[in-house]
């Protein structure tokens, strides 16, 4: 299988503090890769290095075949990103947001038009497209946010706790969108706190105190730890953490 993300002993230090310690893993094309860990385990730091927001202290990594030290600009063209915070402009309308983000990714007017029509249709937002985003319910905002993150057909999309604060039904719909994206060939790299969501991933890694303590399919992990749910796997590993959550 082709690896679209490869890291080798990737490390980030902030002074004496080692946020991520020698993490090595591969993410394969087209899969949903769950990146789990307690608060403060180093997930966000790892993600920031992979998205080019932060330079690693040591180790190496490639994303979509490009080096994270030297080719961040090319990486940026090939990835989508959705952050923990809701990150569309609330004082712009649905269409204006789509047009803006399509615009800064360099899509042509024609492509933006086509894609936004399709997207609005798909999300059932047709009657809301001229409304300010701030007026939409949180669930809609998250779904719109995700759709905007994959608007430019990236190879990989990074989702940083995308479903925080969203009700179970909307979360389920959100995952439908994720599956739809993978069927188009997008690789999904997702962090989450919800263990039911971990079950939806093809493979997951669990970070504890800056290191990857487990990496496999949910099925194999449950078997390895001899437990019935991902919840228990996570609990067994996270209990050993020395770092206090932030």
């Amino acid at each position: 299988m082709e690896a679209v993300i490869k890291t080798d002993k990737l490390t980030k230090r902030f002074g004496d503090f080692i946020a991520t310690n020698n993490i090595t893993f591969e993410v394969y094309a087209g899969e949903i890769f769950g990146f789990l860990g307690a608060n403060g385990a180093g997930k966000t730091t790892a993600m920031r290095m992979l998205t080019g927001l932060s330079t690693p202290s040591s180790g190496s990594a490639t994303v979509a075949g490009f080096d994270v030290y030297r080719e961040t600009e090319r990486i940026k063209k090939n990835i989508g990103y959705m952050s923990q915070k809701f990150s569309l402009y609330e004082d712009l309308t649905v269409m204006e947001n789509i047009r803006f983000f399509g615009g800064i990714y360099g899509l042509s007017d024609k492509a933006i038009k086509e894609k936004s029509d399709m997207l609005v249709e798909q999300l059932g937002l047709a009657s809301e497209k001229k409304k300010l985003v701030g007026a939409l319910p949180l669930g809609w905002k998250q779904k719109l946010s995700f759709s905007v993150a994959v608007l430019h057909d990236p190879k990989i999309v990074f989702l940083d706790e995308p479903t925080g604060g969203v009700d179970p039904l909307t979360r389920r719909q959100f995952w439908d969108l994720i599956y739809a994206a993978t069927s188009r060939g997008v690789t999904v790299f997702v962090t989450t706190h919800y263990m039911d969501e971990a079950e939806y991933c093809n493979r997951i890694s669990i970070m504890v105190d800056g290191s990857i303590k487990a990496l496999d399919t949910p099925y194999n992990l449950k078997r390895e730890f001899g437990v019935g749910s991902m919840d228990e796997v996570f609990y067994k590993l996270a209990r050993e953490a020395r770092r206090s959550a932030d």
Binding site: T51, K76, Y81, K85, F86, Y89, L92, F100, F158
Partner: protein, 368 residues
């Protein structure tokens, strides 16, 4: 380039959609001009004065008539005895007394020079200063008129010269000051808030992960405020010409060029603040405290810098508004050209470069 335009369009939507911002942006200069131009004007009208006339001759009478005719003074009493003047001051009824000594007119005609005494109530030093200045101007005028038909010039001893602002119009000093203040406030506050808002909302992260260059993020934030600030400069100038009757004596083009330089200074300061501040409130507080106070104190438009202790005078040199104020005053009121203000322009340019470098460098560090 197309990405850049998309971004600028979005910035304009933000500004135009936010009524409060719009109000600050365009209301502020109008309110400031009106407050400073009229309410806070140090122009004095109808100040009560008394004249003690020991001379009682033609010259003293003519000067008295001129004083009475001016709209600055209201002649309360004539021919008071000298000791009654003090009583008038103590009651606070009169602000100024003019004493013509005996033989005033005779001295002037025979010796070609005469002295008159002006006594002011200096409990309000600014007012006293303004009034004595008005009075000396009136006397000077009279003397000029007198000398037109004289072979040997006659001199009346009040030696105050008032360059550039013979009527001591309040607006003369205020308009350049208000321009510096408004630009400083609008640019610094608006840019820092708009950048910090993106950080607060989390959209900054999205922008930084996108292929859009971080420098362009900054530039596209700056462009709309540069344009809006130039609109502000234009509206202040229009107000000053048509409402305050204060024409621009020098080149309007030069004035706009210098204003652009100062706007860039302010924008880079706003950027510097936005790099440091994490919330919009912090950004606003720093802009208000860090920019408004020094601008008010050290630009020289409210408090004369020459009267400050040496240390503060040195500090004032680092305040960009001081140099901009000098430049605008020179162009608007004195009608000077670039050759007269190249030094100030160069200093302002240097300060701008410094802030721009520091803030761009800091912005990069945050990305690492």
């Amino acid at each position: 380039m197309r990405q850049f335009l998309t971004f600028i369009k979005k910035e304009f939507s933000h500004v135009l959609r936010d009524r409060k911002t719009l109000l600050i942006l365009f209301g502020l200069p109008v309110v400031q001009i009106i407050i400073f131009g009229f309410a806070l004007s140090n122009e004095v009208k109808n100040a009560k004065i008394v004249v003690v006339d020991y001379a009682k001759d033609d010259v003293s009478r003519q000067i008295m008539n001129k004083i009475e005719a001016s709209r600055y003074f209201e002649l309360e009493k004539r021919s008071l005895a000298h000791h009654e003047v003090e009583a008038g001051f103590k009651e606070g009824q009169i602000k100024l007394a003019v004493v013509f000594p005996a033989n005033f007119g005779a001295d002037l005609l025979h010796f070609n020079r005469a002295q008159l005494q002006v006594i002011a109530d200096a409990s309000d030093p600014n007012l006293a200063n303004t009034l004595t200045n008005y009075l000396s101007t009136i006397v000077m005028d009279y003397q000029l008129a007198l000398n037109e038909n004289q072979a040997v010039p006659l001199q009346i001893g009040t030696e105050v010269r008032m360059l550039y602002n013979p009527q001591l119009k309040g607006a003369h000093n205020f308009v350049p000051g208000v321009m510096a203040l408004v630009l400083m406030l609008v640019c610094v506050m608006m840019t820092s808030i708009s950048i910090v808002r993106e950080k607060e909302l989390g959209t900054m992260e999205i922008l930084l992960v996108s292929p859009f260059k971080p420098v362009l993020v900054i530039l596209s934030k700056a462009v709309p405020y540069l344009i809006l600030s130039l609109v502000n400069v234009a509206s202040i100038l229009l107000l000053s010409v048509f409402v305050l009757d204060l024409p621009v004596k020098g080149s309007v083009l030069l004035l706009f060029a210098e204003s652009t330089l100062f706007i860039i200074t302010s924008l880079s300061l706003g950027l510097l603040i936005s790099v440091r501040a994490q919330t919009q409130q912090t950004a606003m507080l720093i802009s208000m405290m860090g920019m408004l106070l020094p601008t008010l104190l050290f630009s020289g438009f409210m408090f004369p810098i020459e009267n400050m202790p040496k240390v503060l005078q040195y500090i004032s040199n680092a305040v960009p508004a001081k140099w901009y104020y000098i430049i605008v005053k020179s162009i608007m009121i004195k009608g000077l050209s670039l050759s007269a203000i190249w030094k100030e322009t160069l200093i302002l340019f240097g300060i701008t470069m410094f802030f721009l470098m520091v803030s761009l460098k800091n912005f990069k560090i945050r990305l690492a």
